[in-house]
Symmetry: C2
Subunit: 66 residues, 2 copies
DNA sequence: AAAAAATGTAAAGCATACTTGACATTTATA
DNA sequence: TATAAATGTCAAGTATGCTTTACATTTTTT
């Protein structure tokens, strides 16, 4: 799965740490998502989508993996 | 998080086991999601949404948890 | 009512999401 | 150029998603 997290975060002029605070997760979690080290839980995906006022599908791009 | 999985599965006339096969997960996983024992990973949520031709937000209902 | 099919659910194990802490590297500012 | 700010990344630990096995309960069919 790919995502547009870094792109969207930068559009809004946020640092990783600020986004992490807003989402109540660690800075490393945000960095790990941006760099594709792992995927978010569905709860975190919802939090992110809601925070940015977008829907999950517009931020996270599913592409027939496995 | 709530979900409309059981409702949608029954609308389509599927058994838990059939849905599980289509999603490549176990029958217990489908049952556990329907009964709220745990939430799907975001990959499974995408698979489910894509299988039903719906978007994640129409199947899984996020409600400010934690 | 009896048998079969579908669903509920628990335990133990493995995989992955997320944490904190620490330190290295890159980017921006003085 | 030197310093600070932001980001990258690793390791070890905890929590949760998902598996298989197994058995109980409910629902459907005969």
């Amino acid at each position: 799965m790919k995502n547009r997290l870094e792109e969207i975060r930068k559009q809004r002029g946020l640092r990783q740490e600020e986004l992490a605070e807003a989402l109540l997760v660690s800075r490393q979690t945000v960095g790990s998502l941006e760099n594709g080290r792992y995927n978010p839980s569905i709860l975190l995906a919802f939090k992110i989508a809601r925070y940015f006022g977008m829907c999950i599908e517009d931020i996270f791009i599913y592409e027939e993996e496995n």
